[in-house]
Subunit: 335 residues, 2 copies
């Protein structure tokens, strides 16, 4: 899911009039920052959902943070033939229904892969080396007041070395591959699960999630959310990962059975977790707030200003292809 | 500086008696965890500083967190001919004085390099992508209560992408080299400063610290603390790094003019910092506690349980070489 700072979001003028410009009309179903507005306004006539024109528009900009693309939405905008999603994940889009109605769907391709991969490694290093926890310790004044300077706290017994660890990557798409490349530089041993082995990589392929977890010190969830991957990390998988195991999730919250994960973290059945996504965002299980063995961030792994600029350009390029009668340039390929 | 959890530290028995064992006597000038105690006891007769025997012992275990090796200390133990330091940095040891007195000095070689390098990358990703700050945001309940879900806070405008950034490494020893290797996997462009260009690397050599800062988005301090590197990052360097610059310090606090760094962070003259070391540990400037653009940790970049085990073995191997009449295996080479 991807979005931009809505403190800068402006409204699209609602108009009952026929557009006076020759620019093709574009339905906008998510808030827009100033950067988005000025870039889109230069190329399209923006149409808001409340405009009577919205029912006749052929293309729309959407986001998983704000939109659920189901038959009801598609009925509301029956002329739509092209949807461009500003994020990587498309679990909010009923792709079969779109296909049936002849609606092309695009996302932003691999724009986000590098940033999400960087973020996954950042979360992992943070959890392994207790960076966020230690910052809290220092800010709370405990470094000075505890007599066991410099490294006395019991907190620190949970620190782990990353080098040499076995990392199991759940989903070796462009994000998972970028994570693997980075972790190789830290001396990690990579295995992965995907629908099929990837002939271009030398990492070990383990086709069963429980086997992957059992043979990993660290499990990184970087797969799309589909029917098959819903709760792919369940109680059995967490047990297979075991007491010394670390889990990182930059996929989707519902890839993990969240109540079970929370129970394992509380009871020490797994060692720790770095979570950027949750099942019921922005709500997170309140028990997590009290835990020292987790790092919790608000679904921001894609977010950098540099990516924002790139995302705007790739969305515009998709719409331009569509309006020129060509296929979108970064289509979402359904399973 | 390196130490182990002193909540597990035990005292060495103080004895007025001549050792009954044939094991060579070893003076211990730092607290020891149980793991240290049992490993050392198997090989040496441990002697505490308060024992009358201490004046005649030839070898000692030291740590920068607890010991300052100056003429006064060397006068107190006139028989010492071998010092083994449990950390990487040796700025607490007067190496010239040791050399003059014929005292061999060893540290733990490159044992810590990988862990320190991992930690530096972790701090950098944390600062660039605001991981610790975001964890605080989530734990404070702000993700739910702010109406600009999912990424609305002004906090997030300071996030940056790591890929493509220019990183200047101050000190390309084994730690700096390991940092460079890791950051290459993230697509960073590496330059470095050292006394001399390193013929084995392809990174750009910039012999002047101000030039290095001016041509870097990120400055990573990974040099030893010497007379030459004391406050090597001063006001001019920080100005050269500039408003969008990030600084990471896993070297020594006094490598940076700390009051000047604090002023720059407060006034926005540099963007942010990840600091594991400080000039007057465990005290840190109180102004830092209030800042959102810093990550503060308690001098723990070397610390992992895996490294602890390795450090014990390498220290023992140094003492065994010394007692066998050979040179220590990981000598500290003075400038």
């Amino acid at each position: 899911m991807y979005a931009f700072p809505s403190h800068t979001a402006a409204s699209i003028p609602t108009s009952d009039e026929t557009p006076t410009s020759d620019l093709p009309p574009l339905l906008v179903l998510r808030p827009l920052s100033d950067a988005w507005l000025s870039a889109l306004n230069a190329k399209f006539t923006l149409v808001s959902p409340s405009s009577p024109l919205s029912a006749s528009v052929h293309a729309a900009l959407i986001s998983g943070a704000y939109n659920r693309v189901d038959p009801a939405l598609l009925d509301q905008y029956p002329s739509l033939r092209c949807l461009v999603n500003t994020g990587a994940g498309v679990n909010h889009i009923n792709l079969e229904e779109c296909k049936r109605r002849g609606v092309q769907v695009a996302n932003v391709g691999e724009t986000h892969s590098k940033n999400v991969a960087d973020y996954a490694v950042g979360l992992l290093l943070d959890v392994m080396r207790r960076i966020t926890m230690s910052d809290r310790y220092v800010r709370n004044g405990l470094w000075v007041t505890r007599d066991n300077y410099p490294l006395g706290s019991k907190l620190f017994v949970q620190i782990f070395q990353l080098g040499g660890k076995r990392v199991g990557i759940v989903g070796l798409g462009s994000i998972g591959s970028a994570i693997a490349k980075r972790l190789e530089a830290f001396g990690c041993k990579i295995s992965y699960l995907s629908r099929k082995p990837k002939p271009t990589v030398s990492y070990r392929y383990i086709p069963n999630i429980c086997d992957l977890a059992a043979e990993s010190d660290i499990l990184v969830v970087s797969c799309a959310l589909t029917k098959e991957t819903h709760h792919i990390v369940n109680k059995q998988v967490l047990q297979a990962l075991g007491k010394e195991g670390i889990i990182i999730n930059i996929g989707r919250g519902a890839n993990i059975d969240e109540p079970e994960l929370v129970r394992c973290l509380i009871q020490g059945e797994i060692k720790g977790a770095g979570l950027d996504v949750f099942e019921h965002e922005p709500n997170i299980p309140k028990e997590l707030i009290e835990l020292e063995n987790v790092v919790l961030t608000p679904h921001q792994s894609v977010f950098t200003p540099e990516a924002m600029a790139e995302v705007i350009q790739i969305c515009i390029a998709n719409f331009e292809a569509f309006f020129a009668g060509k296929p979108v340039i970064t289509p979402v390929v359904a399973d």
